[in-house]
């Protein structure tokens, strides 16, 4: 996945270090270091190949190419690309994992409301 055009995404570049709580109402691309908490309830997060996130993440969707340590709570879809290294529990409606991705933690697939199995 290419680095997104700024304007479509908020971008945290690879030389940027952020410690604390991040929240917003636009999609976010992290290629730097974030430590703390990320909340993007109606938007998506992409952790780029250089990204290193140590945070609990709440988002609509997440694509991980780099490292993420923390609980991931996503209302829609999680994608782990082949270079992803994830340590933490993942809760989502859907998950896609490429061959080579590393995951250490629980995967809990929550059915979409109204589509829950009987």
């Amino acid at each position: 996945m290419e680095t997104p055009q700024t304007g479509e995404f908020a971008l945290i570049g690879k030389s940027v270090v952020i410690k604390g709580e991040l929240s917003g109402s636009e999609d976010l691309y992290v290629d730097g270091h974030v430590e703390g908490k990320i909340e993007l309830r109606n938007n998506s997060l992409t952790v780029g190949p250089n990204g290193n996130v140590k945070a609990n993440v709440t988002a609509k969707a997440i694509v991980i190419q780099g490292k993420l340590e923390g609980a991931v709570n996503v209302s829609d879809r999680v994608e782990l690309r082949k270079t992803a290294v994830v340590t933490g529990d993942v809760t989502a409606q859907r998950i896609a994992i490429e061959e080579g991705a590393f995951l250490r933690g629980k995967v809990d697939i929550q059915k979409e409301p109204g589509k829950a199995s009987a």
């Binding site: 061959e99 991705a101 933690g105 199995s117």
Partner: protein, 222 residues
Amino acid sequence: MKFFRSSSNQTATPAVPQKLTRRSSGIGEISRLLNSEEGLCVLDMGSTSASNIRFFTGKGHKIYSEDLLWSSLDPALRIQDSAGNPVLDSKKFLDENLVYPNARFDVVLCWNLPDYMEESLVKPTIDRLWSVMKPGGFLLAFFHTRDAGPDSICYRYHVTGTDLLEMQEVKFAPPGSPASEKKSPRLQRVFNNRHIENLFRDFASIKFFLARDAIREVLVVR
């Protein structure tokens, strides 16, 4: 028990990674449990497998992924005993791995871990698994028969059907090492049936399934 520690470092790795399919009686038994109950907790101790995550979550169960063989290769675990011999620190290993509340798991997929893991870690790991499994929970492990040699390929297993597995050769670099140092884990030893029974002596029951590919599947009930 037959050990392979003194064997050469040459590997019989084929040039092209193989993906083979095999039927598994153990997975067949576990599938029956998965189909009859809801919301089970499964621990997969192999390399991260999208197939396994899809298979178990697709049936409404939770899956935990923890690659213990890879974790056991962490150079930080190497210490010396009182006689100066190199050993692995099993206490540190269990402080950092398999850290779950007691009686968490209904199913544990151990795969071929005991055959490839360093000797000093095997029994402590099985004891920890006993603690984190629910009474009545299933553990599936694969053991090589005595016909296997030290260059037997180490496979990871992808569940692709109710009694079907896809086997893929494992190659990885130890934690903290560059990807260029990827290699296949080597078979450490071959357990006989008595050793396997001793290994799981605290469990309630044990069932052996013999296969044609120099593998015994062992299904243990906690």
